[in-house]
């Protein structure tokens, strides 16, 4: 067993293999923002409380501020930058725009990612299921009414959200 201060790792980020050397105490959030320049992932609390840093790890939403990057090595990670395909917005992104599910926008990447993972698993959710699924994301502008509308509307687009 090796006990190391530096780790050479790779991640599969938004479909691309990214290799780099990291230190064990760097969080996944720090690596995404500071090493890889993926600043769509936001640091709101750094304590796994607010959800602004949510990314998908193996398609499940996690708080990247409270996951050691080294623990996620070799895994598939989706950030908000990876949702847009060929310049076309993801249906959940489009729905947040259409329904004003945004005020200041800081929490939005986290909400969109959490919602997209949820809609991958749940075809026709009830409003209550949407609330439960998004209960780990805080919007201090409290745009919750329109966030729920956005997610419900995206779910009604009738086709699978992601391939």
């Amino acid at each position: 067993m090796k006990i190391k201060k530096r780790w050479k790792v790779f991640f599969l980020i938004n479909g691309k293999r990214r290799s780099l050397t990291i230190e064990p105490h760097w969080t996944l959030l720090e690596v995404l923002r500071d090493q890889l320049g993926l600043t769509g992932t936001k640091k709101g609390c750094d304590r796994a409380e607010c959800g602004s840093c949510t990314v998908l790890l193996e398609r499940e939403p996690v708080y990247s501020c409270q996951v050691l990057a080294v623990q996620a090595r070799g895994q598939r990670i989706t950030t908000i930058e990876g949702l847009t395909r060929n310049g076309k917005l993801h249906p959940v992104q489009q729905s947040f725009i259409d329904h004003d599910g945004v005020q200041c926008g800081f929490c939005t990447p986290g909400f969109v990612l959490t919602a997209s993972a949820f809609l991958d698993r749940t075809r026709r959710p009830t409003p209550d299921q949407v609330k439960q699924a998004l209960s780990g994301n805080i919007c201090r502008c409290n745009a919750y009414v329109k966030i729920i509308e956005s997610v419900l509307s995206a779910s009604k687009r009738g086709k699978r959200i992601r391939d």
């Binding site: 067993m1 090796k2 006990i3 190391k4 201060k5 780790w7 230190e23 064990p24 105490h25 760097w26 969080t27 750094d46 304590r47 796994a48 409380e49 959800g51 949510t54 790890l57 499940e60 939403p61 996690v62 708080y63 409270q66 996951v67 050691l68 080294v70 623990q71 959490t114 439960q132 699924a133 209960s135 780990g136």
Partner: protein, 325 residues
């Protein structure tokens, strides 16, 4: 965050040996949500961190003769979707649905939930060197005590924050601990320590020992269970008070009852007095109230948490009403 070294053991045995050798300078990490908060807040300062989460042997859920065997590194979200839960282990399912947030359940583990450290505002605060952290004073005893214990709270009024622990104990779960030399199996109820037994730690884990499995026996036919959690926010919040209850009524009288409270004591609090009073009785609301009253007669509330007595009474009665019918 304060830097540390990091290692990934190949086996449980290797992990145990390493942890024993390193003593308190090494800490195991699983989901990390609790440990990393402690490191960032300066409460924990490990020199090295040992990742148990990649040990495949610890991430299982199995049924054996109807009993459930849950690997310590099983994530809470894996457990939550395990099909048999809804049928036979309702309490666990209910506890999980109230626990933390989807993002935390995705990485948090069963062992991590049972081994998490207290949420006491003073303990978690870098500016208070409280008795639990090696200081001489408990600041909560005459400070802000609204979230603290009402029972067994003389030395350190922390409350045990786990939702799963009361649920498991109500189901008579056992835990399997692996150490460098041997494994041992004990009731989960005996896993937790009161501050009087050890002020700085909350469990019986010895240096080098890790929690590898939880074993939950299959409830007898006719057993019902529920987990009630009272909290301020609708999600992502720890319990002010919670109650896990498992019981069975046979031919009109209580044949089996286990009632465990969270949020009221430094350990998951087994309300044995209530259990004993009700055994063999007809399940009636007056008896439930009397039994709850007997449990709470021992309460020693602090200046800010008297309300927890009434809340605990309510949850006990409601839990028993839901289960014993």
């Amino acid at each position: 965050m304060h830097p540390f070294r990091y290692a990934e053991p190949e086996s449980v045995a290797e992990a145990c040996r390493f942890l024993k050798r390193q003593g308190t300078s090494a800490m195991p990490i699983a989901g990390g949500t609790d440990l990393l908060s402690e490191i960032k807040d300066g409460v924990a300062k490990p020199e090295s961190v040992l990742n148990l989460k990649r040990l495949p042997s610890l991430a299982h859920i199995r049924e054996q003769d109807g009993a459930l065997r849950i690997g310590g590194m099983t994530t809470l979200s894996q457990l939550q979707v395990y099909p048999v839960l809804r049928r036979n282990f309702r309490i666990i399912e209910e506890a999980l649905s109230t626990l933390a947030t989807p993002q935390i359940r995705a990485v948090g583990t069963v062992a991590g939930n049972l081994c998490q450290r207290p949420r006491c505002l003073y303990y978690r605060h870098p500016l208070f060197l409280c008795a639990k952290k090696g200081g001489t004073t408990c600041f909560a005893l005459d400070g802000d005590s609204r979230y603290h214990a009402i029972l067994q709270n003389d030395l350190c009024p922390m409350v045990h924050p786990s939702d799963l622990a009361p649920a498991f104990i109500a189901l008579e779960a056992q835990v399997l601990l692996a150490g460098p030399e041997e494994k041992r199996l004990l009731p989960l109820e005996e896993f937790f320590l009161l501050p009087g037994q050890n002020l700085s730690r909350e469990t019986v884990l010895k240096p080098g020992e890790i929690l590898v499995e939880v074993r939950v026996p299959k409830p007898k036919a006719g057993t019902r269970g529920t987990y009630l959690k009272f909290r301020e926010r609708g999600a992502g919040d720890f319990a002010l008070v919670s109650a896990a209850c498992s019981g069975r009524v046979l031919r009109g009288t209580v044949a089996e009852l286990r009632l465990v409270l969270g949020g009221v004591a430094p350990i998951p609090f087994r309300a044995r007095q209530a259990e004993e009073m009700l055994m063999g009785q007809r399940p009636k609301k007056e008896f439930f109230a009397a039994a709850a009253q007997a449990v709470l007669a021992a309460a020693t509330p602090l200046s800010g948490n008297r309300y927890k007595i009434e809340a605990a009474r309510t949850l006990m009665v409601r839990a028993m009403q839901a289960v014993l019918k």
